[in-house]
């Protein structure tokens, strides 16, 4: 051994090769287990569920203990829910992103706090949002409105309802919107802002007429991602407005609603006859997956276009 040589390099070439083989080998195994699980889940649900999807399934209400009929009320309820959610959450998320990119001094305490709050919101367990929906939206806000209007507690607003589920979900998905919109705002070239300002436009005029129109697709991406995320969340809405069966479709925001994810949960865990509902379970899963993945896929495509634009 020459003095310059480090003692750890005394392994023979053969040992090195074996070690290398195992080192690379376990990453291959790890990678393929994860990849395989994802593919297997996807294919499993598609193969089992797709054959049971029919027009009848998509357009009718469940019948006969959920073993027949379709899931139309759940599709309707989910759509209603996520659209209301986007209506509430996207403006707030966009404004927050605007603050973070356009107004905030990056090192200021307030800006840092906002960022920390957004990160924290993203990590709060979804069930806690559900509790928050009950404690804040239903009891405090809803009950407050009712008692202000001089009504019995829980008459109109102070009970589980679609509006409160939407509000709860809009807070849950706020970080998703903020991150996407921020990215889109940053993609607007600095020169555009400078040109506008140089021409005498004020800051708000620049934002309103230049920055926002140029990041519209990004805002759209954020909304779609948020909707995709919100559509799949079940835990926060179980006791904030979702019900497992409904005599008729919800007509207003104070009604209760059916939800695809919750419907799947009910089918999977509370069915007396497991075999009879199995087709319905798988078909519901596929519809839910198509909804969330479809939305995610759309958002990804729009996003990659933005990135290309930004680079080019």
């Amino acid at each position: 051994m020459t003095p310059l040589r480090h003692h750890r390099t005394t392994r023979s070439e053969f040992q090195k090769k074996v070690l290398g083989f195992f080192a690379v080998g376990i990453t291959v195994v790890g990678g393929f287990i994860v990849f395989g699980t994802a593919m297997f889940m996807l294919l499993h649900f598609l193969i089992k569920g797709l054959p049971h999807i029919s027009w009848e399934f998509l357009s009718q209400a469940p019948r006969n203990n959920n073993t027949e009929g379709g899931i139309f009320p759940a599709i309707y309820g989910t759509t209603f829910l996520v659209l209301t959610m986007a209506l509430l959450g996207v403006p707030v998320g966009t404004a927050t992103a605007l603050y973070l990119t356009e107004y905030a001094k990056q090192q200021s305490f307030f800006a840092k706090s906002v960022r920390f709050a957004v990160n924290t919101l993203a990590g709060v367990p979804s069930i806690v949002f559900g509790l928050f929906g009950v404690g804040f939206f239903i009891q405090f806000v809803g009950g407050g409105i009712d008692s202000l209007a001089g009504m019995e507690g829980g008459a109109v607003f102070g009970h589980p309802a679609l509006i409160w589920a939407s509000a709860t979900l809009s807070i849950l998905t706020l970080p998703v919107v903020i991150v996407s919109v921020e990215e889109a705002l940053k993609a607007v070239p600095r020169e555009l802002r400078e040109a506008s300002l140089a021409l005498g436009a004020t800051k708000w005029q620049t934002i309103w007429k230049i920055v926002l129109p140029n990041s519209l697709t990004g805002i759209l991406t954020g909304s779609i991602l948020a909707v995709g995320r919100g559509a799949g969340e079940v835990a926060p809405i179980i006791f904030v407005g979702a019900v497992y069966s409904l005599p008729e479709l919800p007509t207003g925001v104070t009604d209760q609603f059916m939800h695809l994810g919750y419907h799947l949960f009910v089918l999977a865990t509370q069915s007396p006859d497991v075999d009879a509902v199995a087709p319905q379970q798988y078909a519901t899963t596929v519809v839910l997956l198509m909804l969330t993945f479809g939305l995610n896929f759309t958002a990804t495509i729009i996003r990659s276009r933005i990135r290309k634009k930004r680079l080019g």
Partner: protein, 402 residues
């Protein structure tokens, strides 16, 4: 493209239009909603959990679980020196023991009899019913009947039976259950996620990588109720056939389900931090004669370690608070046992399962919110830890590197 900061704001000296001010104010105000929400979540979940304090000095035998008698007892307890178990209150005295300190060393047998062996009991540890308005504080033997337990005793017991003639709110099985499933999930999910990230980042052929990465990230898009369903239908059977376990749904099935949920989280963050290690590190290592795998494991992985730690921490947070998977795949029985193949019940699943049926305002309801506070605080701590500790490490590491 750096955003325009106020430091270079050309409007600083110019007198601004009133509309400008309104716009900026509105944007600022809206931005503060995120901060506000964090406070509101804590405040309002805590507020609903607060009702517990009314029950603290009472035994559960004189209190039906349907919190009808709630109102009267609330007033009664407001002047009593009830120990505050959840902090952040005006009336808490500094020497009052915290709830989970378990200063009271008690052994609770299966029949429910309580033998207090600890000498230092909490001051307001009052095992008697309020009717007696008992002032004897340091009773060695709490009471005649096993039904007469204080809430603190009840909470630290090992039985969770919230809906029964004599409700038992022992949190220990729930905490143990959560710990078990989270542990299994991390045990399975962390290595898989990290290895998969190393593979796609360094070893996978370009074509494969371009298929693999989006598919694994697709896994993150599976709603948790679907993962729960998958575990319920397939993983449960698989585990039962492979290991021949007695219960179809158990801690392992739940842990695998949670692992499926956290793998994409760990994968994505690890991959990101591996890719953000400066290229010069890799080139230097290869130039010195190290092989690809040596570079990956001995240079790139250590360099990206803060990111990997962050990934695992976030995975823990996610597994800890995940509701639907735990609700569907763990069997949901609050069994107090160390066995991995028995059904378990997690904190989050308990809220999800029982919140729908609970009577609003009852003790049970308050306790479910208290579990929510617990979940919030743990996830908040994990997040803060990741934010300050790990990101600081990452920044320091690459300061000279790039």
């Amino acid at each position: 493209m750096t955003p325009q900061t106020s430091g270079t704001n050309p409007f600083r000296r110019r007198k601004r239009h009133i509309g400008e001010r309104i716009a900026e104010f509105t944007v600022r105000l809206t931005a503060s909603i995120s901060i506000l929400m964090i406070f509101l979540i804590l405040t309002f979940v805590l507020r609903e959990a607060w009702g517990i304090t009314a029950f603290l000095t009472e035994t559960n035998s004189d209190k039906t679980e349907k919190g009808v008698v709630n109102e009267g007892s609330k007033a009664a307890s407001s002047d009593s020196s009830s120990p505050d178990t959840y902090g952040e209150t005006e009336e808490v005295s500094p020497d009052v023991p915290e709830e989970y300190n378990s200063d009271v060393q008690e052994t609770i047998t299966d029949s429910g009899t309580v033998n207090t062996t600890g000498g230092d009991e909490p001051e307001s540890y009052n095992p008697d019913v309020t009717d007696y308005s008992a002032s004897e504080e340091n009773k060695a033997e709490p009471n005649i009947s096993h039904e007469k337990k204080t809430l603190v005793q009840n909470l630290t017991s090992d039985t969770w039976q919230p809906v029964s003639s004599e409700p038992k709110f022992g949190l220990m099985p729930l905490i143990l259950g959560t710990a078990k499933t989270t542990f299994i999930a991390i045990l399975i999910g962390a290595p898989l996620g990290i290895l998969a990230a190393i593979y796609t980042a360094f070893f996978a052929p370009r074509r494969l990588r371009e298929v693999m990465k989006p598919v694994i990230e697709l896994l993150a898009g599976f709603p948790s109720v679907v993962i729960g369903f998958f575990c319920l239908m397939l993983v449960a059977d698989f585990v039962q056939i492979t290991f021949g376990v007695e219960y179809r749904l158990n801690a392992i099935v739940g842990g695998i389900g949670l692992a499926i949920a956290i793998v994409p989280v760990i994968f994505t963050i690890t991959e990101d931090s591996l890719m953000s290690v400066p290229k010069s590190y890799r080139e230097a290592s290869l130039a010195l004669g190290a092989t690809e795998w040596q570079t990956a494991f001995k240079v790139m992985l250590p360099a990206a370690l803060p990111g990997v730690v962050a990934a695992v921490l976030l995975g823990v947070g996610r597994a800890f608070g995940e509701t639907m998977i735990a609700l569907m795949a763990t069997g949901n029985a609050a069994v107090y046992s160390a066995s991995m193949v028995e059904p378990v019940r997690t904190l989050a699943a308990t809220i999800g399962a029982e919140m729908g049926e609970v009577i609003w305002g009852s003790l049970h309801y308050n306790i479910l919110f208290m579990l929510g506070v617990l979940l919030f605080l743990v996830s908040f701590s994990i997040n803060a830890l990741t934010e300050f500790f790990v990101k600081g490490m990452l920044a320091k590491k690459f300061q000279g590197g790039t």
